[in-house]
Subunit: 144 residues, 2 copies
C-alpha cells in the first residue's frame, strides 16, 4: 500500500485497507494485553460462552487493519485524532475467519487557510459472505 | 479492587477505576503495537508535532484503565460488548502525566427473564486539575 494524498480523497468512495485472519493465539495475546476477559483467553471459558469458541476482543480487528492498512495510506498526514463514534460490534469475529476492511471519508471539511482538514472515516469490516461484522467512524485532523 | 455485582449498580453513580501515569516508553511501545504514527514513536516527530512532545495514542488511557480497573470490577459478568460511542479526545495525554479514571452506568436495562442486562458505561478520564482529557461510552451485555 502507498501513501495517499488527502487532497485526492473522494467523499463516500470506499478504499480497501486489506484483510486479516486472526489465529487463536493472536486473539489470546491481544486480549491478555488489552481486554483480558476469561472467554478471550481461556479455552474452556471460550467454549462455555455464547460464542462457543474463541472470538476476538471488540477492538482487535480495527486495531489490526488500522495499523497494517489505514496508517500506511493516510498516517503521514495525521495531526491528531478527535473522536470515535458508532462503533458497532455486529457479529463476532472467530479465530481463523477471513475479515476484509474498507474505509471511506463520510465528511471532508477542508480549511485551506489553516492547511488542514477534518475527515470522518467510516470503517467497515466484512466476512467472506460480504456481511458486516463491525463498523465505526473515526474523526481525524489531517494536514492538507 | 474487588468484583462488583451488576445487581448492586446505581444509575449515574461514579465508580473509581484507578489512576495511570504513562512513561515515554509506555507510549512508544503501545503505539508500535497499535497506532504507529511517527509522532507517537519518534522523539523528533513528537517535538515537531502540535503537542511538542510525546502524547499517548488516543485509545491507550482507556485500554489501560479498562484492563487494570474496570475488568477487575465488572469483567466477571460480561457476555459481550455491543457498541462504543461519543469517544472524545478532548486534551492530549502527555508522558508522565497522572490521569484518573471513573465509570458510571448511564443506562441499565435489565431483562430478568433472560438473566441479563444491557449497560451503557460512561468513562471519564481527568487530569490533576480535574479537567476532562477524554470521555467515552461503552455498551455491554452483562449477566445478572
Amino acid at each position: 500500500m502507498e501513501m495517499v494524498s488527502i487532497n485526492e480523497l473522494e467523499l463516500n468512495k470506499k478504499i480497501n485497507i486489506g484483510t486479516v485472519t486472526l489465529s487463536e493465539q493472536d486473539i489470546i495475546d491481544y486480549a491478555k494485553l488489552n481486554d483480558p476477559l476469561e472467554f478471550h483467553i481461556d479455552r474452556k471459558a471460550a467454549e462455555a460462552s455464547i460464542f462457543k469458541g474463541f472470538v476476538a476482543s471488540g477492538s482487535q480487528i480495527f486495531n489490526n487493519l488500522h495499523k497494517t492498512g489505514w496508517i500506511k495510506l493516510f498516517g503521514h498526514s495525521v495531526i491528531c485524532g478527535l473522536e470515535v463514534n458508532n462503533w458497532k460490534f455486529i457479529r463476532p469475529v472467530y479465530a481463523n475467519q477471513l475479515i476484509k476492511g474498507t474505509v471511506e471519508p463520510i465528511i471532508i471539511n477542508k480549511n485551506k487557510e489553516k492547511g488542514h482538514a477534518v475527515i470522518a472515516w467510516r470503517y467497515e469490516f466484512t466476512d467472506t459472505k460480504g456481511e458486516l461484522v463491525q463498523i465505526l467512524e473515526v474523526t481525524v485532523l489531517h494536514k492538507l
